[in-house]
C-alpha cells in the first residue's frame, strides 16, 4: 500500500523466481483493464495489462472511515464500462455499495446495505446491482441479498435468503440471480422480476434436492448458532465431514446450468436449471472457492483457496484440464477477459504479505504476469 501510495507503479511480469511466463504464450495485442479490491487497506487497484506488460495503473482509496478499515470486498464493472461498483463490508454496522466513475475514479454515490456486503454483480442492463450481505458477525441467522438501483444508488430490496450468503451472479438474461449459503448447504435462486426467492437447492452429497420457495428462516440462538465457518474456506473438512460449504454459484453462459463450488468438499456441483435437479458432482481443487465461465461457455476457471492455484475445467466433460499455481496463498477471485484470452486471479496472501493478481493465459494455461496489490485482495472484475 505504501508503495502504491508513493506512486511507484509496479510493472511486473512476475515476482522474481515465481515469474514463469509460458514459452508458448504470445503477448497480448491489446490492453485489458481489471479492478481488484484490497479489503485490509481500503484500496481499489486498477490494473492494466497489454503489450507493455502488467502494472497497477492507479490505486483508488475507498471508504468513509479515516482510521478504521471499511473493507472493500466485491467489485463489479457495469456492462457499458462507464461505472464500477465496490462493496465495503464494514459499517456502523451496515456496509455500503459504492459507485465510481470508471474514467475519473471519483466516487459518485453509495447505498447502505446490510451486514458485511460482499460479492456484487451488476445486471446485464446495468440498472441493478445484486450484493450478498454475508453477515460475518455474531450468531448464525438468515441474511439477505440486497438489490440496488444503480442510477441513484437506492437499495430497493433486501431479500432474505439464508445464512452467510456468498457469491452473487446473474444468468445472462438477468432474470435469475444465484447465490449460495455457506452455512446452509444451499443454492438460492432469486426471481429478479419479483425480487423474491424462487427456489433453493440442497447441496450436501447424497442429499441433493431442489425445492421451491425460500430456505427455512434461521434465527439467532437457533440450532447452529455460533457454528464455526471453517476458517472461511481455509480449514479442510474434518474426517467424515461430507459437507459442501458452498462459496460460489456460477450460471452457464446459456443460463441452463448452474455450477456451484463446494469449498469444504472440494467439489463442483452442476445443477440443471429447468428441472432444478443435480446433473453431476465433479472433483475440484483444494478449497475450490470462486468460479468464472469463459464467454464461449467452453471452460470453467476455478480458484482453489486452500491449494494456492487455479483450475481450468472443460465445461462439457467436467475434466480438469490444468491446475496452475498462483503466487500467493489464499487464492480468491477470478475474472475472464471478454475475448477469453486471460483470467485475472486475485491472491490474498496472509497477514502483512502483499496480495497479488496473477494473469493466466487461458490458451497456454500458464501464468504470464503478476502484479502486487494491497493486502487481502479479494473481489476482481475486468472491463469488457
Amino acid at each position: 500500500m505504501i508503495r502504491t501510495a508513493l506512486g511507484l507503479l509496479l510493472v511486473t511480469t512476475g515476482l522474481g523466481a515465481q515469474s514463469a511466463p509460458g514459452p508458448a504464450a504470445a503477448p497480448p495485442t491489446r490492453d485489458y483493464v481489471a479492478y481488484v479490491v484490497s479489503e485490509a487497506v481500503d484500496q481499489i487497484a486498477v490494473i492494466r495489462f497489454g503489450p507493455e506488460g502488467a502494472k497497477v495503473e492507479r490505486t483508488v482509496p475507498v471508504g468513509i472511515s479515516i482510521t478504521d478499515p471499511d473493507g472493500p470486498h466485491g467489485v463489479s464493472v457495469a456492462p457499458d464500462g462507464r461505472f464500477y461498483y465496490v462493496s465495503t463490508a464494514h459499517g456502523i454496522p451496515g456496509g455500503d455499495l459504492w459507485k465510481f466513475d470508471a474514467r475519473t475514479h471519483e466516487p459518485l454515490a453509495k447505498a447502505t446495505l446490510g451486514y458485511f456486503p460482499a460479492t456484487a454483480q451488476v445486471s446485464p442492463d446495468g440498472w441493478f446491482a445484486y450484493v450478498v450481505n454475508f453477515n460475518l458477525y455474531g450468531e448464525m441467522e438468515t441474511s439477505s441479498v440486497s438489490v440496488v438501483e444503480t442510477g441513484e444508488m437506492l437499495e430497493i430490496a433486501r431479500i432474505p435468503t439464508c445464512t452467510m450468503p456468498h457469491g452473487s451472479r446473474l444468468d445472462p438474461t438477468g432474470r435469475r440471480h444465484y447465490s449460495v449459503c455457506m452455512m446452509d448447504e444451499e443454492l438460492v435462486e432469486i426471481d429478479t422480476r419479483e425480487f423474491k426467492v424462487a427456489r433453493h437447492f440442497f447441496l450436501t452429497a447424497g442429499k441433493e434436492m431442489g425445492m421451491t420457495g425460500a430456505p427455512p428462516v434461521r434465527v439467532a440462538g437457533g440450532e447452529h448458532a455460533g457454528h464455526d465457518m471453517g476458517g472461511h474456506g481455509l480449514t479442510p473438512p474434518a474426517p467424515g465431514d461430507i459437507g459442501c460449504s458452498p462459496t460460489w454459484a456460477q450460471p452457464s453462459v446459456d443460463g441452463q446450468r448452474v455450477w456451484v463450488a463446494c469449498n469444504k468438499s472440494s467439489e463442483l456441483v452442476e445443477i440443471d436449471v429447468a428441472s432444478w435437479s443435480l446433473v453431476r458432482r465433479l472433483p475440484a481443487g483444494p478449497g475450490v472457492y470462486n468460479l468464472a465461465f469463459t464467454h464461449d461457455g467452453a471452460r470453467v476457471v476455478a480458484t482453489n483457496k486452500r491449494g494456492q492455484s487455479v483450475s481450468i475445467f472443460d465445461a462439457r466433460s467436467g475434466k480438469e484440464l490444468a491446475r496452475i499455481p498462483t503466487t500467493r496463498r489464499v487464492t480468491h477471485g477470478v475474472a475472464i477477459t471478454s475475448d477469453d484470452r486471460y483470467a485475472f486471479v486475485s491472491n490474498e496472501g496472509i497477514g502483512s504479505e502483499m496480495s497479488t493478481v496473477d494473469i493466466i493465459d487461458l490458451a497456454t494455461r500458464t501464468r504470464v504476469a503478476t502484479v502486487e496489490v494491497g493486502q487481502q485482495a479479494g473481489g476482481i472484475d475486468v472491463r469488457r
Binding site: 482509496p61 468513509i64 454496522p93 459518485l108 447502505t112 496472509i350 497477514g351 502483512s352
Partner: protein, 682 residues
C-alpha cells in the same frame, strides 16, 4: 488508521476526497444504456407527508405516462435515502419514524425492460403532541421585588423537544406576576403558583414570596484570590432587617468583566487573569464579591527522552507491562505485528521480539493486572477469524500465544479491556465490530476463554450501533457507544445488581453529535465521521473524547492540507452516576481528541493532528479547559523519521513512572518526560 490516511497524506494525486455523502436528490448519474422509461411521473400519496415521531405512515404510488394516464403493471419499491438513524421505510412504502427529522424517501417505479424511474419525496417527522413541560430554574422561594427569568421547555411523550409557545400564568398576580415570556416578579408576600401550559398540558411551580424583605445581602466569599480555572462556589446570604437569614432563596448570578462562567448554583470559573466582580441579585437588592485571578501557571517544559520510529506499518495502541520495563506496540494498515519493546533505558528503546498473528491490524493491547498475560485484538484476518489473541508473559519480553477467542466476534474486535475483581474473577470486555455489542469473556484461565455475556444498546435501530472503546473501574463499565454516547453499565459493582455475566444499565449520557459538529459538516459535507470514541473514569468525572473526521477535505487540497481531525473532549460529572452531567470541555484549535489517560492531576491526550497534550485537571472542573490556561504541555509528535514525514497523528499515551509513552500512527513511539516547572526570571 486505514491506509487511506496514508494515501491522503502521501499520494496527493490519488486523493479523491474519497468519502462521499449519500446521494443528493437529483444526483442521478448518466443512465445506463437501455430502453427509456415510459413513465412520465410518479404520484405519491398522501400529498401532506408529515408524521409524528414514533408513528407509522403508509405511502402509495401510481405511475402516469406523458398523457397523464395511469400505467398498469408498475412495481413500486420504496427506499430510504437518508436519515437511517431516525427512521425507516420498507419496500412497500410503510414509513416508521424513530425520531424527529426529515426522511428522504425514493420511490422506484419498475417496468420490465425499461429503465427504472425514480421519484424523491420527503417525509417530515415531527415531535408528537406536547406531553411534558419542564420549567428551569425552579425557585421555590423569592424575595419581595425579585425578578427572575423562567424558561419552559416542551417535550413530547418520546422526549422530543417541541417549539410551542408557552402560555404563562400566575394563580395570584398580586403575589407573583409572570410575563408572557416567563419573566417572574415577586410582588408581595404570599404564595402563588406559576403555570406554563400548552393546550391541555401544564406544568406548575409553587412559589412563595418571603414575607420579609431582604434588608441585607452578602455574597461569600467576599474576596477571592485564585487562579484561572479554579472553581469558586459562591453563596448569597440574605437577611431581614432583624439580621435573620432568609433561607431558601434563589438569587440571580452574574459577573463582569472578563471571560468565564457562573452557573445557577453560584459556581464561578474565570478564564483570564484579572479582577472580576460577581453579583447576586434579588430584584433591586444586589451584592457583590470580588475575585482576583492570577495565571494558572501550570505550563511545563517537555523533553523527548527516547524515540522508536516505526516505518513498515502505521502504529496503533501502546501498553506497558505492569512490573517490567517492557512496552507493547500494535501495528495497522495491513500490520500483523505486535512489537515487544525493552524500555529499560528510555533513551534507547529497542525491539526485543514481536508477535505476528493472522491479522492486518493489532489495534488494541492490554495486560492482565498481574502481568502474566496480554490480550490483543485482530481485524482483517485472512481466515476471517478475528477476535482476540491471548499470550503468556512468562517472559514479558517474549510473549507466547496461548489461546484465541473468535466465537461471535469473528468479524473483528477493535478494543478490549481486562478487569479483575475478587468476587467475579478476571474478564476481558470486547467490542464487536459488526453488531456494536459488548462481549464479556471470562479469562480466569486465559488459555480457556469463555464468553459469559453479551450486551448492546436497545430501543434503537440496529443501524448506527457501534461500540468503540471500553473502560472498567470499580465494577462499572464506561462504554463509548458512538451514536449512543457514553453508556455506564454495572458489571460487578453491584449498585444495580450487575455482574460480568449480567451487565445492567446504570445510565447513559447522550448528546447531539450533529449539532456539536455542525461546522465539520458545513466544511466537509454530510456523512462525516463522528461519535463518542473513548471514556476514562477519574474521581467523580468521566472524560469522554469524540472522534471526528470531515467527509472530505477542502477541494484542491493535497497532502496534509487535505485531511484533519476534529473533536471535543467533555468532562462528565458522575457524582450522581444515574444523572451524568457535562460540566467542562476541551477542543483543540487544530486536531482532534483520540485517546486519553489520566494520572494524578494530569490529563494526557493523543490529539491526532494536534499532537500530544497534557492538561492540569486538579480541583473542580468547569467550562473551557483550554481557555482557562490548564494546558501543561504540548508536543508535535512529528519528525522526519516516521512513515509520513513531519506530520503528527497522535493516537494516545500511557503514563508510568513520570514518563509518557506516546504512540503516533505515523511516527511510532515517543517517550516524553514532563519536566518540573521552570522559574521565569524577569
Amino acid at each position: 488508521m486505514s491506509p487511506r490516511l496514508l494515501s491522503l497524506l502521501l499520494a496527493a494525486p490519488l486523493m479523491l476526497g474519497a468519502q462521499i455523502p449519500q446521494t443528493a436528490p437529483g444526483a442521478q448519474q448518466a443512465a445506463p444504456s437501455g430502453a427509456p422509461s415510459s413513465i412520465a411521473r410518479i404520484i405519491v400519496s398522501p400529498v401532506q407527508r408529515v408524521m409524528h415521531a414514533g408513528d407509522t405512515l403508509r405511502l402509495t404510488a401510481e405511475a402516469r405516462d406523458a398523457s397523464n394516464k395511469v400505467i398498469p403493471g408498475v412495481q413500486f419499491r420504496f427506499s430510504g435515502a437518508g436519515a437511517r438513524f431516525e427512521g425507516s421505510v420498507d419496500a412497500s412504502g410503510l414509513v416508521t419514524s424513530g425520531s424527529t427529522g426529515t426522511m428522504p424517501v425514493a420511490v422506484v417505479a419498475i417496468l420490465p425492460g425499461e429503465q427504472p424511474k425514480v421519484e424523491r419525496i420527503e417525509v417530515r417527522m415531527v415531535p408528537g403532541p406536547a406531553a411534558r413541560i419542564a420549567i428551569t430554574p425552579a425557585p421555590a422561594k423569592l424575595a419581595p421585588g425579585q425578578r427572575i427569568r423562567l424558561t419552559a421547555e416542551v417535550y413530547s411523550k418520546l422526549q422530543d423537544r417541541r417549539a410551542d409557545k408557552v402560555t404563562w400564568r400566575s394563580s395570584n398576580s398580586a403575589v407573583v406576576s409572570v410575563s408572557d415570556v416567563g419573566l417572574v416578579r415577586a410582588v408581595a408576600a404570599g404564595k402563588a403558583t406559576i403555570s406554563a401550559s400548552v393546550g391541555n398540558v401544564q406544568q406548575t411551580l409553587a412559589v412563595e414570596v418571603a414575607a420579609t424583605p431582604v434588608a441585607t445581602l452578602a455574597v461569600t466569599p467576599a474576596v477571592s484570590n485564585a487562579r484561572t480555572g479554579d472553581v469558586i462556589r459562591f453563596k448569597a446570604v440574605a437577611k431581614d432587617a432583624a439580621g435573620r437569614e432568609i433561607a431558601g432563596l434563589t438569587p440571580v448570578w452574574s459577573f463582569n468583566p472578563g471571560q468565564g462562567l457562573i452557573d445557577a448554583e453560584g459556581a464561578f470559573v474565570g478564564y483570564q487573569p484579572g479582577d472580576y466582580t460577581v453579583t447576586a441579585s434579588f430584584g433591586n437588592t444586589t451584592a457583590e464579591a470580588v475575585v482576583s485571578l492570577t495565571p494558572r501557571d501550570v505550563r511545563r517544559p517537555l523533553t523527548v527522552m527516547g524515540r522508536l520510529p516505526r516505518m513498515r506499518f502505521t502504529t496503533e495502541e501502546v501498553w506497558l507491562h505492569p512490573t517490567e520495563k517492557v512496552a507493547y506496540l500494535g501495528s495497522g494498515s495491513g500490520g500483523d505485528v505486535l512489537y515487544v519493546i525493552d524500555i529499560t533505558d528510555p533513551a534507547a528503546p529497542f525491539v526485543t521480539d514481536s508477535l505476528v498473528s493472522n491479522t492486518r491490524r493489532v489495534n488494541d493491547v492490554m495486560t492482565t493486572p498481574d502481568g502474566k498475560f496480554l490480550v490483543h485484538t485482530r481485524e482483517g484476518a485472512s481466515d476471517r477469524k478475528n477476535g482476540v489473541v491471548f499470550a503468556s508473559l512468562e517472559d514479558p519480553r517474549h510473549p507466547k500465544v496461548v489461546a484465541e477467542f473468535t466465537e461471535g466476534v469473528a468479524g473483528g474486535v477493535h478494543s478490549s479491556f481486562i478487569f479483575k475483581d475478587p468476587k467475579h474473577g478476571q474478564h476481558v470486555f470486547l467490542t464487536n465490530n459488526g453488531t456494536g455489542a459488548l462481549h464479556v469473556v471470562n479469562i480466569d484461565d486465559p488459555s480457556k476463554p469463555r464468553e459469559v455475556a453479551q450486551w448492546k444498546t436497545e430501543n434503537r435501530p440496529d443501524a448506527g450501533r457501534s461500540l468503540h472503546d471500553i473502560d472498567v473501574q470499580d465494577g462499572l463499565l464506561y462504554g463509548s457507544w458512538w451514536n449512543d454516547g457514553l453508556v455506564i453499565l454495572d458489571v460487578g459493582n453491584g449498585m444495580k445488581g450487575g455482574t460480568p455475566s449480567k451487565p445492567v444499565m446504570v445510565s447513559q449520557f447522550k448528546y447531539d453529535l450533529n449539532a456539536l459538529y455542525r461546522d465539520v459538516e458545513a466544511s466537509g459535507g454530510p456523512g462525516f465521521i463522528r461519535g463518542t470514541h473513548t471514556a476514562w473514569r477519574h474521581k467523580n468525572y468521566v472524560f469522554i473524547a469524540d472522534e471526528v473526521f470531515p467527509a472530505s477535505g477542502p477541494k484542491g487540497a493535497k497532502d496534509a492540507a487535505a485531511m484533519r481531525a476534529y473533536g471535543q473532549l467533555q468532562v462528565v460529572d458522575v457524582t450522581d452516576i444515574e444523572k451524568p452531567k457535562s460540566v467542562a470541555f476541551y477542543e483543540p484549535e487544530f486536531g482532534g481528541v483520540h485517546n486519553v489517560w489520566v494520572a494524578g492531576d494530569s490529563l494526557y491526550i493523543g490529539a491526532y493532528n494536534g499532537g500530544f497534550r497534557v492538561f492540569d485537571v486538579s480541583g473542580e472542573l468547569r467550562g473551557d479547559l483550554r481557555a482557562q490556561g490548564r494546558e501543561i504541555g504540548h508536543l508535535n509528535t512529528a519528525d522526519m523519521d516516521g512513515v509520513v514525514k513531519n506530520a503528527a497523528m497522535t493516537w494516545g499515551v500511557v503514563v508510568k513512572d513520570g514518563l509518557a509513552y506516546v504512540n503516533d500512527m505515523l511516527n511510532g513511539l515517543w517517550i516524553v518526560r514532563i519536566e518540573p516547572k521552570t522559574t521565569v526570571v524577569p
